[in-house]
Symmetry: C2
């Protein structure tokens, strides 16, 4: 028989069981944290009508969309979770209650050039709060507190949330006579960390005719260590700038009420976010020991979520975590807590008698107590059976022979310590539960402190 | 501005928030139940290399595959979770431990003709146990016990698991001189419930030249009320048939040890399962009050999971639930338990003072106690704020005014009873927890009994 060589496409993450458990544990923490803040889970199709998905049109992303035809019009795969959200809210607005708070964790697709750590299929984990006409500024302060809670729950410690407000940038640009190039200047500023101030200054001058002195003033202000103090000097000169400064002050002021420690956030006027649709507060999140990987959680405030689909004014604020890439980095940089249980079962039951009924009953009893139990019935040598538990990292093995069955007990071996005790089912359950609680304590990420 | 009409493609399920919570609750129960039996979670790409996905080639499914090109070879979307599993196991066999037990709950794609209750994107929830060279028959008895546990945990009561063994059918075919048409005869038998015995008999005669008496004998045997007794009369006439009868007896014998009640399973010799690759026990699961929807969980034993990719002999046994269709039917037939909480939050905190800090602190405290809490800060009239909780079905509303803050208490209203109490945070947490436990008791499916 001619065989096909099995392979997984490059740019598509496929994890071995142990890693998958670690990934799923992170997803579970995200779901739980988002739910604690009153976000409802959402799931939308991976395929959308092309005119819907491409309503905004143009741009870099369009080139990366996977499109195909199947007996009709072309059908593209979603490239983010924001466009499907906009469609969802516009389509179902009559049946939703606003502010509408949703989280969505799902796969998105981009035909990027394949390279290490870049994925063509990847999970995004998004939250958004959408208002109907209005949305209070407090939401813009709550979002970074959720970022803080989320990464803290995951076990990350050395991270910093960076905040800015697009009104400040747009106000400054207007003040410095750069209004007509605002978008381009914003995108150039966004590259500051990547290409450095000199190249940005040069680009501003060459590409948009910004005078050297203006570029100098702009970059000095943006990079100052005390941005709020520096901005005070511009007060009263531009309404938009004033509004941005006020919003940013309000957000920062609430941050401590929301319990975000001072060393976990910073106002950074160089944060611009490339996307056009942000209009207020913007966020990025840096891993302090790995600035090279860029922002691990970004987002911001927008005035019009679904303008391409509806005349309804739907302002909102949201963030997105690129989960697949984050997981790749965490594994690559040895951040994953390898002590946590990744075995498919907590207990392996090894029947030592012909009649399996007592083993099946015990397994049923353990499962009823919430203990993940596998019955092992393959015809192998004893050593191979134990080796199975060992290879998979199953923490407890239960032997059930004639003697144990007669006495209504079981021989329960702790695979880590080697300690084997003959116990009743209740004793075994208590011992196993205590051991599991200990082994499962701790977060999925192990960060330096 | 020209606007695009928002729409979701037909054949793609998109749920409103309340329904999504119900769907997710079912997924959560499946994950938990599968995990209790020692299955490890797996996730594989939705897109696979075309030569990998189509290794088996031909068939009905190939016409339904979504394929597209993106700067290179064509890339098809998976149409089930079995082919990706075969690839996964063949590709990673050196890094897996056998028997390999995995569950996977994920979206698959089929370009079916759009009709009510048929989906082009749908979730499958699969479990499989894969052996390396061998796999004990006990696994074939454990699988229906997992089906039983799963549906019972979901709240379904009126269902029945139907079992057969392909060796019995193939042995009978050989005995009756139908060996060379075995596959075709099997597929014809499979239609028995759909088209009735007369049409099956006619088809067997016309299409494969089966004599009328033979067809009669076959159908009489297959439809008998006491199949095991009837099969006893065939003992010793065909080795394959004998083996099939012995396997089926063993599986049935273990079923009661595994705790499956007698009225929840039945040997049914007409169960054939269309798929070629089953070689032993096969399963279907019927909703007793809705036979018209067909099997809600099917599967069986196969000898060779990955023969298209590897010379390794990988026998296994598995089942699949078509979750999206099942959910559609459950909703359509009013099986969903509408009493369970589907609100995005357990508590809505309404600050009544300018300073939000006390409200933020209380919300933080509630969340630390595991209570899903939303802070409501929009500038609306009091009635609208209460209406927000009401519309979303949020069970508790907390008012925090000057008086409450002064006394270190909060006014906590139970929205269902209308009872409003001024309580300390600890009292409120205890009361809310007790109320939530009551509201969340019960399964997602409410079946007649």
């Amino acid at each position: 028989m001619d065989r096909i060589k099995p392979r997984t496409l490059s740019g598509f993450m496929e994890l071995l069981p142990r890693r998958q458990v670690q990934f799923d544990r992170m997803v579970e923490i995200l779901r739980k944290t988002y739910a604690l803040y009153g976000f409802t889970p959402l799931d939308t199709p991976a395929i959308e009508a092309s005119e819907v998905l491409l309503a905004k049109g143009g741009g870099e992303t369009e080139k990366q969309i996977y499109r195909f035809t199947k007996g009709g019009p072309d059908l593209p795969l979603r490239f983010d979770l924001t466009v499907p959200l906009a469609k969802y809210v516009a389509l179902h607005s009559g049946e939703l209650t606003f502010p509408f708070r949703r989280f969505q964790i799902g796969k998105v697709y981009r035909g990027e050039r394949a390279q290490r750590g870049r994925f063509r299929e990847f999970y995004q984990a998004d939250i958004d709060v959408i208002g109907d006409g209005n949305l209070d500024i407090v939401n813009e302060a709550e979002i970074p507190s959720i970022i803080y809670q989320t990464f803290t729950a995951l076990g990350l410690k050395r991270f910093q949330i960076r905040l800015n407000n697009r009104k400040i940038l747009n106000g400054l640009f207007a003040l410095l006579g750069l209004k007509e190039h605002a978008g381009d200047v914003m995108r150039t500023i966004d590259k500051l960390e990547k290409i450095g101030p000199e190249k940005v200054k040069a680009a501003l001058g060459e590409d948009f005719g910004v005078p050297a002195a203006t570029a100098e003033e702009l970059l000095t202000l943006l990079s100052t260590a005390e941005p709020m103090a520096a901005l005070a000097g511009y007060r009263g000169r531009n309404a938009l700038l004033d509004q941005g400064v006020e919003e940013l002050s309000t957000v920062v002021q609430y941050l401590s009420a929301f319990g975000v420690p001072q060393d976990h956030y910073k106002v950074d006027l160089t944060i611009a976010r490339g996307l056009d649709y942000y209009t207020g507060t913007v966020y990025e999140t840096a891993m302090l020991d790995h600035p090279e990987i860029g922002s691990i959680c970004s987002g911001g405030r927008y005035d019009n979520l679904a303008e391409y689909y509806t005349s309804k004014q739907l302002p909102g604020v949201g963030i997105s975590i690129g989960l697949t890439r984050l997981f790749f980095v965490l594994e690559d940089q040895k951040y994953l807590n390898e002590d946590l249980l990744t075995a498919p079962a907590d207990v392996l039951v090894l029947p030592m008698t012909e009649d399996l009924s007592p083993a099946i009953s015990l397994a049923t009893r353990l499962r009823a107590a919430g203990i993940r139990t596998q019955l092992y019935t393959e015809h192998k040598k004893f050593k191979q059976k134990i080796g199975y538990a060992d290879k998979l990292g199953i923490p407890y093995v239960v032997f059930l022979g004639e003697d144990e069955i007669q006495s209504g007990q079981a021989a329960v071996k702790d695979m880590a310590t080697g300690e084997q005790l003959t116990q009743s089912a209740e004793e075994a359950i208590a011992r196993i539960r205590a051991g599991l609680a200990q082994r499962n304590a701790g977060a999925p990420i192990q960060d330096r402190q």
